[in-house]
Amino acid sequence: MAEVKTKGEVIVNRAAIVAVMLALVVMLTPILWITATAFKPRNLATTVPPTVMFEPTLSPFAKLFTKRSQLREPVEQEVYDAAPWWEQLVFDGGEQVVRNKKTGEATPSGFGGRYLNSLIVSIVSTVLAVSMGTITAYGFSRFRVPGEQDWLFFILSTRMLPPIVVAIPMFLMYRAVGLYDTHIGLIILYTAFNLSFAVWIMKGFIDEIPREYEEAALVDGYTRLQAFFKIVLPEALTGIAATAVFCFITAWNEYAFALMMTSRNAQTAPPYIPSQVGSGLSDWTVIASGTFLFLLPVAIFTFLLRNHLLRGMSFGAIRK
């Protein structure tokens, strides 16, 4: 696109901006609704017709982090007044905080611990999947590998079997080798899930990087490894960023195996959030607040990587 624009181009550009804005509205409305619900008092979450304007409350967040049980009648005023602010917020929603009989301490819901587990598992497995995927993709892209197509297809096929079916043998295997309910277990699991994706995407990107760059570097006296790290990796950053975003999202949101393969130590947050629907009346506000908090790290991670995502793949000057 040339710097000097014709009239036609200006119009096209404006039309594009309008279209993008429209798309933003459509794509974001459900997310805005979730976010709004996260700050609603419980009785406004499902009204007929829907409530758009309301006074925001932190009640859903107070509930998200505490273990609660349903109250059959509102608490007495003195009890309410004597309670700390977060407990009052829970009372507002018709629930009470479950307290330890002996110590009188409020029981946390476990969401915080699960959130931390999610971070550990997702970050480590993403780093592993992306780095293994990148070097493997480079290997396949640049060297002659006997049966290359078959190996690549094998790698791809590890993602084809419906995961439900391997759940039972996977569970038995994890039990047998002691990976059940460990962070390492989940990390290995998610690395394996994401690896096929990482290899294929990275191969797509690395294939596009002209070989001439490396050849030039080799001629300049670089070793192959140096050429890989200093020439290929920087060129492949867009791909690495995109792959990292996708892998992180997959690991971050994985539900079925997180539920099956963990019990107390390594539980991640995704199975917890929908479980808040359980107590007779769905508490959409708590689910929304959990979803909102859970969306933040991925959104931030992606936002930080945005420039890499958009930078483009190469100087684009030389193509095979």
Binding site: W33, G139, R144, W151, M160, V165, M173, L309, R311
Partner: protein, 300 residues
């Protein structure tokens, strides 16, 4: 293993310094392959074995070898064929929708736009949500009484999920909403790699926008777009979470939903393994065709 011939200049002296190319190749590739084999071999063999038995994981009873009985029963069950038809329809609807929306958005974004980084991040948000949560919330959004979709669009009491014929489209729409950003991001990466001088050359030749798109843009983006399509197709075949939460109409019973019921409600472990292998064969066949196209696209 012996003949490592690099595809780079064979006279390169790289091998003489540092690691040899063969060592690097092996170091780079073998751990991944070994890891994937070790990780998958037991579950695959286990489920392959149970596919030929009447094993039920809910009881302690020993599994009996039943030969091809599971496969025979499945393939002669009209309900299973219906599951496949529904899933095929679902895959076509969602993947087509995602490519149109995702690629379209990428084309729109592939220009100088203020706040492009922020806009792109925002557009990616739907795919960052957990599928189970997406299902729960869309059920709320679709609700004829509480939902905002009918409310904002003025559709009155339109029943998105209760009408058997509409339900599949409603479920597919959620999938398109959620995963178009995936196609968008990959397409965007591909688009930004198209060398600008090719467009400039086209402009000089006074080529029309259609010519430019089909002869320059599309061929160059095709490989990465194809990879996006392959992954979306594979994932669409496995769709479970949001679909199961949104609707369990017979008209929306996707393969993965039927499989789940068979494996974890009925505990017909053997039968469900057989079913899964049938699905695997179908997916492998389809993916194979895609990969052929991908290689063709790359060769151009």
């Amino acid at each position: 293993m012996a003949d490592v011939i690099t595809r780079l200049d064979p006279t390169s002296r790289a091998a003489a310094r540092g690691f040899s190319d063969m060592t690097i190749r092996n170091l780079f590739i073998i751990p991944t392959i070994v890891f994937l084999i070790v990780f998958n071999v037991f579950p695959l063999i286990y489920s392959l074995w149970t596919a030929f038995t009447d094993y039920r994981a809910s009881t302690a009873a020993a599994a009996n070898f039943v030969g091809l009985a599971n496969f025979r029963e499945l393939l002669s069950d009209p309900d299973i064929w219906r599951n496949f038809t529904i899933t095929a329809k679902y895959v076509v609807i969602t993947v087509t929708g995602q490519v149109i929306v995702g690629f379209g958005l990428a084309m729109l974004l592939n220009r100088k736009i203020p706040l492009k980084g922020l806009i792109t991040t925002l557009l990616l948000l739907p795919m960052m949500l957990s599928p189970a949560v997406v299902g729960l919330f869309w059920k709320l959004l679709y609700d004829p009484s509480f939902g905002i979709i009918n409310y904002f669009l003025g559709l009155g009491k339109f029943e998105w999920l209760a009408q058997p014929q509409m339900a599949l489209w409603a479920v597919a729409l959620v999938d398109i909403w959620m995963w178009s950003p995936f196609v968008m991001l990959l397409s965007l990466a591909g688009l930004s790699a198209v060398p600008k001088h090719l467009y400039e050359a086209a402009e000089i030749d006074r080529a029309g926008p259609f010519y430019t798109f089909f002869r320059i843009t599309l061929p160059l983006v095709a490989p990465i777009l194809m990879i996006a399509i392959i992954f979306r197709t594979m994932e669409a075949f496995k769709t479970f979470d949001h679909a199961y939460i949104l609707s369990t109409q017979p008209t929306t019973e996707l393969i993965a939903i039927r499989l789940y019921k068979m494996a974890f409600l009925e505990w017909q472990t053997g039968m469900s393994s057989a079913f899964a292998y049938i699905v695997l064969i179908v997916v492998v066949a389809i993916t194979n065709i895609y990969v052929k196209y991908l290689n063709k696209a790359k060769a151009r």
